[in-house]
């Protein structure tokens, strides 16, 4: 057992290195959702209100997409120590990503009762391109996954050991709903299936204890229930819903649902959004395909509660993706990554019989991982810089460095105000006072039409426009480029 924990420690170190290395610089830009999370967290720390002036909200209005609250509060906590910095946005995600590795080890151990499968699963998660992608960015998915893993682990422990452990289990599940929208659909269904699978074991427990535990557990869900059923809480679902499209909803649902199990998506091309994968490789590595198939076969053959849980996990995780567009969607389906790695580990230990095959597979796995790292650190960074809205931060930092020389700075609408708010940083109290007027942010004024002419104003004015809007021969003060060299904005004096 000592050896097992030593290996787990090494795996966790590997996971930490992979998640912390170059964290603030790669992915290259800060997508506006990340920046919005950062600014709302800053606003909470400064005023106790979000950017719209709502006091400690359970849904953050942000871009009218009503973001889930938990990750924003986690970023607010990290900003207590780090201030409103880039690292403060991505650090909670990286930490939760690292913690998922040992938690998944204990969960797999509890579920499949095999330390070698548990170690393999945690190693696969530590080096998973899917998991790395979302635990290195300031999105909510990694936190939600960790909470579901903890919830399931405590649920299994409650069944086996002490029924009172159902209380932390329900707490973690309730928190996962507050962490990310996909879990609003996944968690209740998954929890219902867990109660169904273990109904006999649960009813064997002392009735009084069980009722107390479930009542306490239900309390955890209560604060979030009003927002769960409110129109704001369903905004993300209705904005991108499959209903009201040209194609019938049932057909779209089936298509979207099955797309999560497309072998091309899982093993060869992945999600074709530059923020969700490196686009040239699958969400899982190609070499994992035979092991996943064998793992699925072993689990079907075993037909016990553990395999039922894993299958329920995989099948239910696809439902949030199926209800909205586009599909497949690696982020909304992110919750399934741990289950896929578990299935793969089962397959690996079924197929590998000797050291020779193990070595060959290890070499192929290392080669695949090297290809992934090459894609992630060299290709994707440049090729998908625009997907990350690279250059916006640099533009605001430049404007900030010269703003003292000008009376006003005219900003064209292409530069989202959230970047000025966060990298300013702009006082949230002023924003609340102005009724969230984003057209005037101190010296920064937004304009929406190209009707500016030089020499018109007596004020010292700086203008920032998209690079296509003005010729490079027009006395440009500075050109802002993305890390791949593509021009983004041009700055000039009026």
């Amino acid at each position: 057992m000592k050896k097992t924990f030593l290996i787990l420690f090494v795996i966790t170190i590997i996971a930490s290195i992979l998640r912390f290395y170059d964290l603030t610089k790669n992915p290259p830009g800060y997508y506006w959702d990340e920046v919005a999370i950062g600014y709302n967290a800053y606003s909470i720390n400064q005023t106790g209100k979000d950017e719209w002036g709502a006091k400690f909200p359970l849904l953050f209005r942000s871009f009218n997409d009503y973001k889930a609250p938990l990750y924003i509060y986690a970023v607010a906590f990290s900003q207590k120590f780090l201030g409103p910095t880039d690292l403060s946005i991505r650090l909670p995600s990286a930490i939760t990503g690292i913690l998922s590795v040992p938690v998944l080890f204990f969960l797999t151990l509890e579920l499949l009762k095999s330390s070698k499968i548990a170690l393999t699963t945690s190693f696969l998660l530590a080096t998973s391109s899917w998991h790395l992608q979302f635990s290195r960015i300031g999105f909510e998915g990694a936190l939600a996954l960790l909470l579901v893993l903890c919830g399931l682990l405590f649920f299994l422990l409650a069944i086996r050991k002490n029924i009172y452990l159902l209380i932390p289990s329900l707490l973690f599940f309730a928190l996962s709903i507050m962490a990310y929208h996909a879990e609003k659909i996944f968690t209740p269904l998954f929890l219902a299936s867990l109660f169904f699978f273990f109904k006999k074991a649960l009813f064997e427990k002392p009735r009084k204890k069980l009722i107390i535990v479930i009542l306490i557990g239900t309390i955890f869900f209560l604060p979030y229930l009003p927002t769960y059923f409110s129109s704001e809480g369903r905004v993300r679902l209705t904005q991108e819903s499959i209903f009201g499209q040209k194609e019938p909803a049932n057909i779209l649902f089936i298509k979207n649902y099955l797309s999560n199990f497309s072998l091309d998506y899982l093993f060869f091309r992945g999600d074709q959004n530059g923020r969700h994968s490196v686009k040239k490789l699958g969400e899982l590595f190609g070499w994992q395909l035979p092991f996943v198939l064998v793992g699925l076969w072993v689990l079907v053959k075993n037909r016990n509660k553990s395999s039922a849980i894993i299958f329920a996990w995989l099948l239910l995780a696809a439902i949030p993706v199926a209800l909205v567009r586009p599909a497949p969607h690696a982020y909304r389906n992110f919750i399934s990554v741990a289950a896929w790695e578990m299935v793969c580990a089962v397959g690996i230990w079924k197929l590998i019989k000797n050291y020779k095959t193990a070595f060959i597979i290890f070499v192929i796995a290392v080669y695949s991982f090297a290809v992934y790292l090459d894609h992630y650190y060299f290709h994707a960074k440049k090729a998908y810089a625009a997907d990350w809205m690279d250059g916006n931060k640099e533009a605001v930092l430049y404007l900030k460095s010269v703003e003292k020389n000008y009376d006003r700075i005219l900003v064209y609408k292409d530069l989202p105000p959230i970047y000025i708010l966060f990298y300013g940083p702009y006082d949230p109290a002023k924003l609340h006072f102005s009724n969230h007027n984003l057209d005037h942010l101190g010296k920064y004024q937004y304009f929406h039409k190209f009707d500016l002419q030089r020499g018109q104003s007596k004020e010292r004015t700086l203008v920032i426009v998209p690079s296509w809007a003005i010729s490079s021969s027009d006395n440009i003060l500075r050109e802002i480029r993305m890390n791949n060299g593509d021009p983004l904005y041009r700055i000039y004096e009026l």
Partner: protein, 135 residues
Amino acid sequence: MNFDLTCILSRITLDIPPQLWEVQTASGMGNTLLVRLLHNKLSVLINNFSRCYVSFLSPDFIAASFSILGLILFLVGLYSLISRKKLIWLGILLICPLPVLLEIPKNVTLRGTFLYTGLGSVILFGLYRCYKKFF
């Protein structure tokens, strides 16, 4: 993907030069030893070939070709074939995408017939197993 059966050998090989060009230029590292080690003709060919081969057996392809009911019956059939160790039948299933993929024979209809007969026979076996189980 591949619902129009365009994942074929000639296209796979045609795709290799632009794919290699892309990886060599995107990073700005050029055609260095590392780039050649990680992204070479062989690795791209293997990746493209397996991607195309697997696409013919992918659940979304089977559902698009035979409906969702067809997919369910296919999974039942596949489970029954493996549990009964019907190796010849499984072999046929694994071989059936190859004519389309390798473009042998030249006749396109014949290639498609091979593929759909292979997949269809597993579906029929699944239907038979369901009939035996419930009636």
